[in-house]
């Protein structure tokens, strides 16, 4: 099994005619994802290069195709938060916002509204998620993933690829990998994903990848300590980052005493998490946790 997305996930692509949207539609199709529709206002009743039907609104796309998930590539200047709300109102189960650069004010409002309903929003500014062999809703290179017992949740994109690559080479496949994104206000945080892995019978261990900034890792550590029975292996990037400097991600900044790597590592260790010093150590720690 997997979490959030599987073979039956029917995906609509919002912003399908843009450069990123069209490229990744091709990549996702190649991976085997069921892309059933695209949405670009003004381009309804046409088809994209892969023959995918394009609609003017998400509502129409859902009515015509039975889509239950959406992936959003709509650029920030075209009001990404509005696209998220459109997907939300269309009754989808999973909404993935890949777009980077969405204003915080818009996300505070959008996240508040989405949380009133049933939809699970992932992102924005994230690589998306993948259930290897079943469905890819994201921009990650599909070939490095392989099915297996490890669940993964991460704030970073390429660092996730690095770690997944090491896991796969070590013979450790994945149930689902979720990239939650590097922005301060995101639809899904660690503590939204961890219970799903805890409940998923096929996930036997979880790899948790955090970074400096905020206190989401500490909050997750509390959850792991009190609620999780499955083993967790953790990694925190930015261990040597200086305070006050924003390291690429809007959320990755140590300000004052919050967001320091040491506090995060300490919280994870106290929760019984095996914390890896380098990405290279992660497969060994996972094997140990699985008794392999």
């Amino acid at each position: 099994m997997s979490i959030l997305i599987d073979r039956n996930t029917k995906v609509v692509v919002q912003g399908i005619t843009g450069r990123e949207g069209s490229f990744h539609t091709g990549q996702m199709l190649e991976y085997g994802t069921q892309i059933v529709a695209g949405v670009t206002p003004g381009k309804g009743d046409t088809r994209d290069a892969y023959g995918i039907a394009i609609f003017n609104t998400v509502k129409e796309a859902v009515a015509a195709t039975g889509a239950n998930a959406s992936i959003i590539f709509v650029p920030a200047k075209f009001n990404t938060a509005d696209s998220i709300l459109e997907a939300n109102e269309a009754g989808l189960d999973v909404i993935v916002a890949i777009t980077e650069g969405v204003p915080t004010r818009d996300m505070i409002e959008a996240v508040r509204i989405v949380k009133m309903g049933k939809a699970r929003l992932i992102g924005p500014n994230c690589p998306g998620l993948i259930s290897p062999g079943l469905c890819k809703m994201g921009i990650m290179p599909g070939n490095i993933f392989t099915p297996g017992p490890v669940g993964m949740v991460s704030r970073s994109g390429t660092l996730t690829y690095e770690i997944v690559d090491e896991l796969t080479r070590a013979g450790l496949g994945q149930t689902t990998c979720v990239g939650i994104g590097g922005d301060p206000i995101i639809g899904t945080t660690f503590i939204d994903v961890l219970p799903l892995f805890e409940a998923d019978p096929e996930t036997k261990a979880v790899v948790f990848v955090g970074e400096i900034g905020g206190s989401d890792e500490e909050i997750a550590a509390e959850y792991i300590k009190t609620k999780m029975t499955k083993p967790v292996v953790g990694f925190i990037s930015g261990r040597t980052a200086p305070p006050g400097k924003r390291m690429g991600h809007a959320g990755a900044i140590i300000s004052g005493k919050t967001g320091t790597p040491q506090a995060k590592v300490d919280a994870l260790l106290a929760a019984g998490v095996a914390v890896a010093d380098t990405t290279h150590d992660i497969p060994e720690l996972v094997k140990k946790a699985l008794g392999l």
Binding site: R112, S237, G238, K245
Partner: protein
């Protein structure tokens, strides 16, 4: 983007917030003298630099006459202001010249987005005029918070309530609540990511004044705020960081001697950690982003090499959207056109890594299989 005090006060004034009278900005001692003369012969000279703790560091001075203002300004303009927040110091280029005010009491009010509640939070404290983080640490009970539901907004009773909870004096509650509303409105409409008035001054005659103003604007929202374009000043930034900004590269100078270039913020951070583990010190953080083409790589390399402390460069690329052969082309192009006298270690993985490695074979670049191996190699080569 951080605003200077004078810019923040300009913004607040538009929302009806009371600020001390001022005679504008002085960039020369003569301007400071004339400004103080316009204020009637007495004035406060305030260094405009993006840091707290300016007073203690000598960045705020009181002049009793226009002549004294000129003398003080001569010392202050061009000084490197070193504070506890920015120990390496910031160069002062502008002074805000304000009317002196007599402060009876100092409060703190601010607004920030809170990740945990996913809301904007208003913060009020009767302990103003000092570092709010220190107050939060030592007197957490002296800080009152109001998380704002974005769909409901702020209600007057909530504003009164948070002021009462902060133990502001009874007779100032209504005034403070009105002040908070103006601050919150300015924060929201400006797409700010921080708004702080510290101190919020109570004058002898019982008025509330924004004695200082600290604003940051959400960089992601700048595209819809052309009015802030004029506020952008690069002079205070590190010159290489300023150049990176112009080139649209995510670069942070870190002070070490190993240049680091990679794709993806998390991966670059982990690479810097790996360099430290191997016994080295990174000169910079540089994320070339997703899908970076050869010209971007060339541009990034040129920037990193412009730091005279750089004794070697490490590339760490995990291809997803970014293709290994494109990155290799950029590096090769860079070695042809730039004067490179330092060793460079290149680690390519993921999409088209093999094609990239083949291109690099005939060059002097040193290949590495893994991130750890690359870090060890570059550290050994720069010892």
């Amino acid at each position: 983007m951080k605003l200077h005090e004078y810019q923040g006060k300009e913004l607040l004034a538009k929302y009806g917030v009371e600020i001390p009278g001022n005679a504008g900005i002085a960039e020369t001692p003569e301007q400071a003298r004339d400004a103080v003369a316009r204020l009637g012969g007495k004035g406060v000279l305030k260094a405009q630099a993006h840091t707290g703790g300016r007073g203690k560091a000598g960045g705020i001075k009181v002049a009793g006459s226009p002549e004294e203002a000129e003398t003080l300004a001569r010392q202050m303009i061009g000084m490197i202001l070193k504070t506890h927040q920015v120990p390496q110091g910031l160069r002062v280029e502008k002074l805000l010249i304000e009317e002196p005010i007599t402060i009876e009491k100092e409060f703190y009010i601010g607004v920030v987005p809170d990740r945990a509640t996913q809301r904007n939070v208003l913060i009020v404290s009767a302990m103003g005029g000092m570092d709010i983080e220190a107050v939060a640490e030592e007197h957490p009970e002296a800080i009152a918070k109001l998380p704002v539901d974005p769909l409901i907004g702020v209600r007057d009773y909530q504003l009164r309530q948070v002021c009462y909870e902060a133990n502001l004096p009874d007779h100032l509650i209504l005034q403070a609540a009105a002040f908070l509303r103006k601050l919150y409105t300015a924060y929201m409409e400006a797409d700010a990511s921080l708004a702080e008035i510290n101190p919020l001054a109570v004058t002898k005659d019982g008025r509330l004044l924004a004695a200082d103003a600290k604003f940051s604007i959400d960089d992601n929202a700048l595209f819809r705020h052309p009015e802030f374009a004029a506020f952008k000043e690069e002079s205070e930034e590190d010159p290489i960081e300023a150049e990176a900004h112009r080139r649209g590269l995510a670069y942070v100078r870190l002070g070490g001697y190993i240049g680091v270039i990679g794709n993806g913020a998390g991966l670059v951070m982990a690479t810097i950690d790996e360099v430290a583990r191997a016994g080295g010190k990174a000169a910079n953080f540089l994320d070339i982003g997703g899908g970076a083409k050869a010209d971007v790589v060339h541009n990034a390399l040129e920037l990193v090499l412009s730091d005279p402390n750089v004794k070697g460069v490490m590339f760490n690329i995990f291809g997803g959207i970014t293709r290994g052969d494109e990155v290799a082309k950029g590096i090769i192009e860079g070695t042809r056109t730039l004067d490179i006298r330092v060793p460079m270690v290149v680690r390519l993985a993921g999409t088209n890594a093999a094609e990239g490695a083949a291109l690099l074979e005939k060059t002097s670049l040193i290949p590495a299989e893994t991130m750890a191996e690359a870090a060890e190699k570059i550290v050994a080569l720069t010892k």
